[in-house]
Amino acid sequence: MFFDAYQPESFFDEMFYQDGSVRPHYNGILERMRELNTETFDQKCQAVDLSFLRQGITFTVYGDADGTEKVFPFDLMPRIIPSTEWTFVERGLTQRIEALNLFLKDIYGEQRIIKEGVIPAEYILSGKHFCREMMGLKVPRDIYIHVCGTDLIRDESGNYLVLEDNARCPSGVSYLLENRQAMKRAFPNFFPGAGVRAVENYPGALLKSLQYVAPMEKENPVCVLLTPGHFNSAYFEHCFLARQMGIEIVEGNDLVVRDFKVYMRTTSGLQQVDVIYRRIDDDFLDPSVFRADSNLGVPGLVNAIRAGNVNIANSMGTGIADDKLIYAFVPKMIQFYLGQDPILGQVETLFASEANQYQHIISNMDKLVIKATNEAGGYGILIGPKASKSEIEKFRALVKADPRNFIAQPPIMLSRHPTWCGEQFEGRHIDLRPYILSGEKTTIVPGGLTRVALNKGSLVVNSSQGGGSKDTWVLHSEG
């Protein structure tokens, strides 16, 4: 009864074929859903929301004087990925992260990729997040991006495409883990026999990755999580991860640098710290090197890193790897460093900074997606076909003023997924953010965070702009 009126329309629908028949890996869940009625489904939705609120699984809305905490909306209809499809994605992501780590090692070292003319020097040196302080700095095990959140979308034919790599401080992984918990509570009888791969080992895998990159391959290193503090919108996640890993969560003021070593203040004196999983941006890390007005960071930290007495994850300067201009070169990087063809496709990208592409962008803004190269969280984006005249004019002026800061992409109709809209299921656009850990080996939690644009027709999935999320099931089998 739930899906009687459901229309896949002209989009790629994750659950249904164009003719309305269900894809085989969704058969099981469809059967289960049919056992429910609207009322019980609604009750479950409310129970889950309430439990998130009770547990304080919330994010803080910035600019709200009351410090309002909101629940990240959760949709109870899971997104399902069959086994071979996932294996393919996993291979593609592994290849990509390897190339990105090699790229960072190269540009903060020999710069072969520039010297051999693969990427123009200009694009790297003009990057807002290219960190000149990192030049020549060796990082343990040559790993720069320890945690990467790569956003994947599926186009009209269902091909997985990389939309962007979040190589700085990707967040959201706690929602992935909490979503699974919520699903298990709401539908305990869905799971036995469904063959869903577990996601619960993420914190353990993260801790292993952190320990693996300890300075001088130290054994049993002391790891901590550095948070900007409890006012940060992702504070819940910081606590959640620290608790799951069993490590201390520290603020800048808890750490001090003495003789190029980092210590935390404890009730029994100073204790040395080896690895810092930092959830604050480069700019705020060390006021003695970057922003002197920041009191979130630890003065002297950068030189402690230079001295090789402490390591941080992710390394400084990884932001250049998720610069949207550099993104366009990732396929070339894969060729250059690994000698392989890229497994995952990505979205064709035009540069406003290139004279021949600039004109095309300026005169076709209503047909393109325009993105600022260094923004995250869904900010600094213009979706031409959906934008008003005045928005387009505003962006045109921005692009003209600073072409380096903008790229353009053809709009991709993200795939859709049945999503509960209060009374019935309707198709809503989704993406997928898998979390990739680089350590002794590359580890990817099966699936990732599926984000869904809850507003009808919207393509923006960010939590700050009307997005919600779903549990993501990777099956042991083809379903």
Partner: protein, 342 residues
Amino acid sequence: MLSRVADSLYWMSRYIERAENIARLLDVNLQLQLDFEELDDKKLKAYWEPVIRAAGEEELFYEIHERANSRSVTDFLTFEARNKSSIMACIMAARENARMIRDQISVEMWECLNQAYLFLKSKNALNVWESGPYEFYKKIQDYSHLFLGLTDATFSHSEGFYFMQVGKFLERADKTSRILDFKYHVLLPSIEDVGGAVDAVQWSAILRSCSAFEAYHRQFVSAVSRDKVHEFLIFDDHFPRSIKSCVLELDRNLHAISGCPLSKYSNQAERLSGQILSDLKYDSIEDAFSFGLHEYLGKLQNRFIAIGKAVYDTYMFHPRLDLAAEIAAQQQQQQQICEKPF
């Protein structure tokens, strides 16, 4: 354990204890008021003003409210977030401290505080309060007791727990002394009333403010009197809210943190708590009377403040600077002036 975490545990515990005490104090006073006939504005003011004074927020109160009466005072001490001693402010502060150390406490403890907070913030809270303050204040006390129980049952009894206990007992000892002292400010209709019926009712209210009414009567079959109430709430060995039992627990937990044997001390906080404890052990109620009750309680309160400071200095303090000063100093991060070439 991180010093900041110890600090937050300590304050989380103190604030929830404080909220409970305010709830009890207000509850009892509201009930007590029912026993009086014909309270005019003036009498109401005289009745409620000490309560505000005890909270030390007189000035703020008169900024917000014109008159001190049951409604304005209870509202001020319950919901007014600007008043740092209101239940709302205490629960918010307890939750804020808990939020800072969420990874350190149990999920149950966090959810309990979060629920108390959500309840206070909800419209429902006001409805419950309007329809009967008793139910409302009962609920606040229940949250506090639930929190105590959950802490006991879900939180490791190790260093962090001891810091929480120190916070709780220090707060409780202090509040019991203030509730006793509170009676000192309450005016009786006339001097003849001392020892009379009104006086007895008021002393009973003091006992109830400390949840001590039943325990007291098991101890003393006699009627409620000023002397006996003091003896009970200061010197009783077993009642968990008497100052002496609180200090006993405080001392025990302070020693548990450092691992120092009870008979010795290893820092200033332990030395001070040991001193108070020994005074309470060897003083009698007669000593308190001859010293002056109000003065005796005042002296205790000052010593509790000194212990709080000593705990801070010992465990949250670091070589060179204390945490607060260091945070302030960090905000004073400055750039060196640079040389100008010519």
